[in-house]
């Protein structure tokens, strides 16, 4: 299988970032078709497509779209989660920079389908280039009557605003994103079943549809070419439909974004990225830093799909696929991952705030050569006490990679503790140490 470019088909054309270039390349066909349909018809197409959320969790998108009240009693909002922060992922950045109108069209279709008149794109503050690209595109869309009052003369209003974050991984969590958009510290809020779903009471306690950049970007294609057509992509998998963009980085010759059909073997993704550089393949984190690590042998047999990846005890996640060569010290990798989560934990709940710092301290003493017997079990114990007990999924995301690395490479941790130094001693590996 080769790359299957649907969302990224025109990403290399500079004119695709302009209104005229977008329309000339088939843009806005989806929206034009959508506004002629019943609102429910649009949602039914999304249902037929089998589209699942591309932000990491893989939740069926149509359930969210269908969840907003059909009889509108208060303003509805459409939010786009563009706070891409998962280490290893850079697909949303590229989609926003090179295909801004695709996202805008997708959100406008969503706005029509769920009767929202306002949409917000929450972009992380560092993504200035993406924000500028979207800003220009939104300005052009307004000027051409594709946003604002009476979109396409069909009597439906849709305003789209950009909102930039200011540096917080936690704001990529949907309830924390809403807190941040409302002007608070980016901390998660009570969730279902303890509080209503965002589709009933989301941002400003109004019905809210929130999806990832890539998810919205699929909508124009689903509506224009039909949900059934979209569902024919990835049909070899159990329940993953369409295409997925993978951001491949780490020790590969040709890092970048690659769009593939679900059902593609993981090793082909590695081949697309030019294979491993600097030595033999050792390990791979297939779906962003939160996902459990897999070994080279598992890379060989892994098939990309939400259910299929579970056979190697990992997940598709956000698609941030990092490959590591033989000079990679897994204990160091675990330490750097733990540092990330300790640094980004928002501090709201105790298991995550304290647990991530404990894991970091234990790993820090191991890489300083001061590890103690029993540290591995202690790490597993702490990780186990975070998992499933934190307020939001950041806690799980901090526990899984450490648990996964211990499960797959326990001998490296044991060697490090016993000898006070890493078992990966090549010159290349030593040069990477902080």
């Amino acid at each position: 299988m080769a790359e299957y470019k649907l969302l990224l088909k025109h990403s290399d054309k500079p004119e695709f970032r302009t209104f005229s270039g977008y329309v000339a390349n088939g843009g806005y066909e989806g929206l034009k078709k959508a506004v002629e349909m019943e609102r429910q018809g649009v949602i039914d197409e999304v249902k037929a497509s089998g589209l699942r959320g591309r932000g990491g969790a893989g939740f069926p998108s149509w359930i969210k779209w269908n969840g907003l009240p059909k009889e509108k009693k208060a303003p509805h909002y459409v939010l786009c989660n563009a706070d891409e922060g998962e280490p290893g992922t850079f697909k949303d950045k590229m989609l926003m920079e090179t295909c801004p109108f695709q996202l805008i069209e997708g959100m406008t279709i969503a706005g029509y389908a769920v009767q929202a008149e306002k949409g917000f794109i929450y972009i992380r503050g560092e993504f200035i280039d993406a924000a500028k690209s979207l800003r220009r595109a939104i300005d052009e869309a307004y000027a051409n009557g594709y946003l604002g009052k009476n979109v396409l003369g069909k009597g439906f209003d849709f305003d789209l605003y950009l909102h930039l974050g200011a540096g917080s991984y936690e704001c990529g969590e949907e309830s924390a994103l809403m807190s941040s958009l409302m002007g608070e510290r980016g901390m998660p809020r009570l969730k279902f079943p303890h509080a209503p779903l965002p589709t009933v009471s989301g941002v400003w306690e109004k019905p809210t549809l929130i999806n990832n950049v890539e998810t919205y970007s699929c909508a124009p294609h689903i509506v224009a070419r039909g949900g059934e057509w979209y569902a024919s992509l990835g049909a070899s998998t159990k329940n993953s439909r369409g295409t997925k963009i993978f951001s491949v980085s780490g020790h590969v010759n040709n890092p970048g974004n690659f769009e593939i059909e679900f059902g593609t073997p993981l090793k082909e993704l590695l081949a697309m990225a030019g294979g491993v550089k600097g030595g033999a393949l050792k390990a791979c984190i297939p779906g962003g830093s939160s996902m459990p690590i897999i070994t080279a042998e598992e890379v060989d047999r892994a098939i990309i799909g939400y259910e299929e990846m579970q056979e190697v005890k990992s997940m598709v996640g956000s698609g941030g696929c990092m490959f590591f060569n033989e000079h990679t010290d897994i204990v160091m990798l675990a330490w750097r991952t733990a540092l990330f989560y300790a640094n980004e934990s928002c501090g709201k709940c105790t298991p995550c705030r304290e647990g991530t710092k404990w894991m970091l301290q234990i790993l820090e003493r191991i890489i300083e050569g001061k590890g103690k017997p029993g540290d591995i079990d202690l790490l597993k114990d702490v990780a186990g006490q975070i998992e499933g007990r934190s307020f939001c999924a950041l806690g799980d995301a901090a526990a899984w990679p450490v648990q996964g690395m211990i499960r797959q490479f326990r001998h490296e941790f044991e060697y490090y503790i016993e000898h006070g130094k890493s078992m990966v001693t090549s010159e290349r590996a030593m040069a990477l140490r902080p």
């Binding site: 891409e84 974050g165 890092p255 830093s289 990330f340």
Partner: protein, 210 residues
């Protein structure tokens, strides 16, 4: 070792000004921009984040006690609430006054295993500053940051609104020389560009730069 978790301490918070010392410094442009922003959201509170970006530009890149007090005053929120928001997010400079340029070296996974700590140590050696410090001439501030999400360009660093990567020692030499004489990619300009990206055509006073 990484110094990421070691920045600022509670003792170093700027003091809030007393109520009768409030000295509003927003320019006419900033006031107009804030008025535009208020129409985007159903509440004034939601303007806190963008208003802090305006303040970061108006106060020369640093959210001092005065800057936070002005945002609180203009949005009718308490000082404590706005300070709480300002200190939560890493891109607001609420602890130290930053240098003219902020050099943010990513040391997260892909960058780490492509030599990011060597890059960080090189910048430290060359400029004599560590994580969170500013050079004596006020030109550069160094920060070690988490994933900038351009891992295909590892090892990567960000200066103001521009990403640079993959970088090596020679690239950094040229970049630092170049930045000394440049008015772009400054901390202030980045804040301005973020503000401009928020605004609709009719509300915009400044420009969205290329």
């Amino acid at each position: 070792m990484s110094e990421l978790l070691q920045i600022g301490s509670p003792n170093e918070r700027p003091r809030p000004p007393k109520a009768d010392e409030l000295n509003l410094k927003f320019s006419d442009q900033a006031v107009k921009e804030l008025e535009g922003l208020k129409t985007h959201y159903p509440t004034l509170k939601a303007c806190i984040l963008p208003a802090l970006w305006i303040a970061q530009r108006e106060y020369g890149g640093f959210l001092s006690g005065e800057a936070i007090a002005e945002v609180a005053h203009r949005l009718k929120r308490s000082y404590a609430e706005v300070e709480g928001v300002a200190t939560f997010y890493t891109m607001y400079n609420s602890v130290h006054k930053p240098g003219k340029h902020k050099i943010e070296v990513c040391t997260c996974l892909s960058c780490h295993f492509n030599g990011a700590f060597r890059i960080r140590d090189y910048v430290t050696a060359k400029l004599g500053i560590r994580h969170g410090e500013t050079t004596e001439d006020g030109m550069f501030m160094l920060e070690e940051v988490e994933c900038l999400n351009a891992c295909d360009r590892a090892p990567l660093l960000q200066v103001g609104d521009k990403y640079h990567g993959p970088v090596d020692e020679a690239y950094i030499d040229n970049l630092l020389e170049d930045l000394r004489n440049r008015e772009e990619s400054t901390v202030v300009q980045m804040a301005d560009q973020i503000v401009q990206c928020h605004l609709e055509t009719s509300e915009r006073v400044g420009k969205v730069l290329d």
